[in-house]
């Protein structure tokens, strides 16, 4: 049975004081706008740097849990011969402030992959040692479609606490013990009027999100269609969609300087599935792009019951040729012939 946590209401200066208290004790990370580059997660040094702006990060919070490059072990040698030195699991507790509902929900989908039958100790350790505090979106981008993916800009799945900025006040939804450790006694409980205010604020946030995407049921019917060739023809195979996706998790295992590394990889790349023999089950962009679309909207749903997409819009926003996966999937021909 899930524990019921309280909501707190807190003023700006008190929120800053709470964060200042964290800065002295933990590694704290939050979004920061880098001039001319965009918003990025950066180590937070000053509590007043807390970024509550409308724009969200270019890279998702995924990288703190599934690193772009991570060492698993190193091959070493001593007097008695060769041995493998395991990379230690990071022990330090970490607080990330500023994740959006979509990317936090992405973590709950990654949990299904990395915290399932074969447990990935590196990923699980990163999840455990991190307290994730979200900030609810109030000005979604035109490419956002989280509500069509079963999410919402006001939901806290995958987080420990979620902050709503309402005027100069902050309502904090405490979601877990880890969240309660930080905000459990901050500010005060909501009175009836504030509860009403919060409900109407949540409604407004959801309504601000205008884009609706209908993913058809039975996408597998379109698998054999020549449509995928047209749909993928503009793709440059650059892979930016996979790197910036909060749920893409395909990886390669490579050796460098006697170290075994796990590195991001992606279905957009031609050599992703290339066999040493020269055989390639996904030889052209058509098969590779279709793999991305189907992994997200067909295979994952069959294996885990949900789409592997949270509707954050990053792959659309940052695609150099403006491929829109939501449009492509919504328009897939289910009669196979077209």
């Amino acid at each position: 049975m899930s524990k019921k946590f309280m909501e707190r209401i807190i003023g700006r200066e008190e929120l800053i004081r709470v964060i200042e208290g964290l800065l002295g004790n933990f590694q704290v990370v939050g979004p920061r706008e880098l001039p001319g580059k965009g918003v990025f997660y950066q180590p937070m040094k000053n509590a007043r740097d807390i970024y509550l702006g409308g724009g969200f990060t270019i890279e998702p919070v995924k990288k703190f849990f599934l690193s772009p490059s991570e060492c698993f072990f190193e091959q070493k040698r001593n007097e008695s011969g060769e041995f493998l030195e395991e990379a230690p699991l990071a022990g330090d507790k970490r607080i990330i402030i500023g994740a959006r509902s979509c990317e936090a929900r992405g973590l709950t989908l990654l949990d299904k992959v990395f915290d399932s039958d074969y447990k990935d100790s590196f990923y699980i350790n990163n999840r455990k040692r991190t307290t994730l505090i979200g900030i609810s979106c109030d000005s979604p981008d035109k490419d956002c479609f989280c509500t069509s993916m079963g999410g919402s800009p006001t939901e806290g799945r995958g987080m420990d606490a979620l902050i709503f900025e309402i005027g100069d006040q902050f309502i904090i939804e405490v979601i877990s013990d880890k969240g309660s450790d930080i905000f459990g006694s901050a500010g005060s409980e909501l009175n009836e009027e504030q509860k009403k205010l919060w409900e109407s604020d949540k409604k407004k946030r959801k309504e601000a999100l205008s884009r609706k995407v209908a993913v058809p049921d039975g996408l597998d019917k379109a698998f054999g269609s020549p449509y995928w060739e047209r749909a993928s023809s503009a793709c440059l195979s650059c892979g930016v969609c996979t790197y910036l996706c909060p749920t893409c998790h395909c990886f390669d295992l490579v050796d460098e300087e006697r170290k075994r590394l796990r590195c991001y990889d992606g279905c957009a790349f031609a050599d992703f599935t290339l066999h040493a023999s020269g055989e390639n089950p996904r030889p052209t962009k058509k098969e590779r792009y279709r793999q991305r679309a189907y992994h997200k909207f067909d295979y994952f749903k069959k294996n885990f019951g949900e789409n592997l997409c949270v509707g954050c819009g990053r792959c659309i926003r940052h695609c150099p040729v403006k491929i829109d996966i939501a449009d492509i999937v919504a328009n897939a021909p289910l009669d196979k012939e077209s």
Binding site: S121, F251, L253, D255, F272, H275
Partner: protein
């Protein structure tokens, strides 16, 4: 929590050159505890590391009934890892993690006539299974092995053939693609040989492994002979990087070959709405 990506160190205790480009290496785990506890089924595979070069999947090519000798992998020189593997010597250290995959359904093969169909290095997983059957011979009915290669030089496990031929109720058909001097066995590609010898499909199961082109042309012949798709097993070759169903490249539709395979019935593959 253990690290699922961590290799176990193993020493190369023997190397056999099978063909100009295939070597079989025999490995012993350095850790005695792993040596004792490591168990597998024919058809399962391991992730084989040549440290500082990388990791690649190989089936275990010897039978679990003979694992006290160590485990064996047969490696065809192809890419970066396999080329590095070919340069290794006896005494060198490699990494092994596994076993992974489902392996062959041994219970379903019991008390059946067995037809093994192999092409080239595709005999590797079947060799594990064939020798398992040889070591439990009373559990199976007749055994027919059809083994083809491009040329006689490309036939692997040649020293096993006399033992298989001598075994009770066992037939071995060897074939090469084109006629060669001093070649006394059959000539022709595997599907054609199957049409010629027409092995029994009665109370029989067939297990096929070879290059994709061989599989493609062999399946219709097996159906024509009278095998039903549920009784045709094959083991698929895919780039299985992690072996754990996570890295994302070996799937056919929603099926992760490294986890739910690599052994499938032809019926299951046919029923997939996705290409394979």
């Amino acid at each position: 929590m253990e690290d699922i990506y961590l290799s176990n160190l193993a020493e190369i205790v023997d190397i056999k050159k099978e063909t100009p480009d295939v070597k079989t290496v025999r490995l012993k785990f350095k850790d005695g505890k792993i040596r004792d506890s490591f168990d597998y089924k024919p058809g399962q595979f391991v992730e084989f590391s040549v440290f500082n070069e990388g990791e690649a999947p190989f089936c275990i090519s010897n039978s679990p009934t003979r694992k006290s000798e160590g485990i064996e992998c047969s490696i065809k020189k192809m890419g970066k890892v396999t080329q590095a593997a070919h340069e290794l010597d006896i005494g060198d250290t490699v990494g092994i993690r596994g076993p992974y995959g489902n392996g062959f359904p041994m219970e379903e093969l019991k008390n059946k006539n067995l037809l093994f169909v192999a092409g080239g290095i595709g005999l590797a997983p079947l060799r594990s299974l064939i020798n398992y059957c040889m070591d439990n011979r009373a559990d199976f009915k007749s055994i027919t092995i059809v083994n083809g290669a491009r040329t006689s030089k490309d036939l692997v496990y040649k020293d096993e053939y006399p033992k298989w031929e001598k075994a009770k109720d066992t037939k071995l058909h060897l074939t090469v693609d084109c006629q060669e001097d001093n070649w006394t066995c059959m000539v022709g590609v595997v599907p054609r040989i199957l049409e010629t010898i027409r092995p029994t499909c009665k109370d029989a199961v067939t297990i096929v492994c070879g290059p994709p082109v061989m599989i493609r042309y062999t399946m219709p012949v097996l159906l024509k002979i009278g095998f039903c798709a549920e009784d045709i097993f094959t083991t698929l070759e895919m780039k299985m990087k992690c072996g754990l169903g996570k890295c994302g490249r070996c799937n056919i539709g929603p099926l992760y070959i490294c986890k739910e395979g690599p052994v499938f019935t032809y019926a299951r593959l046919e029923a997939l709405k996705y290409e394979f």
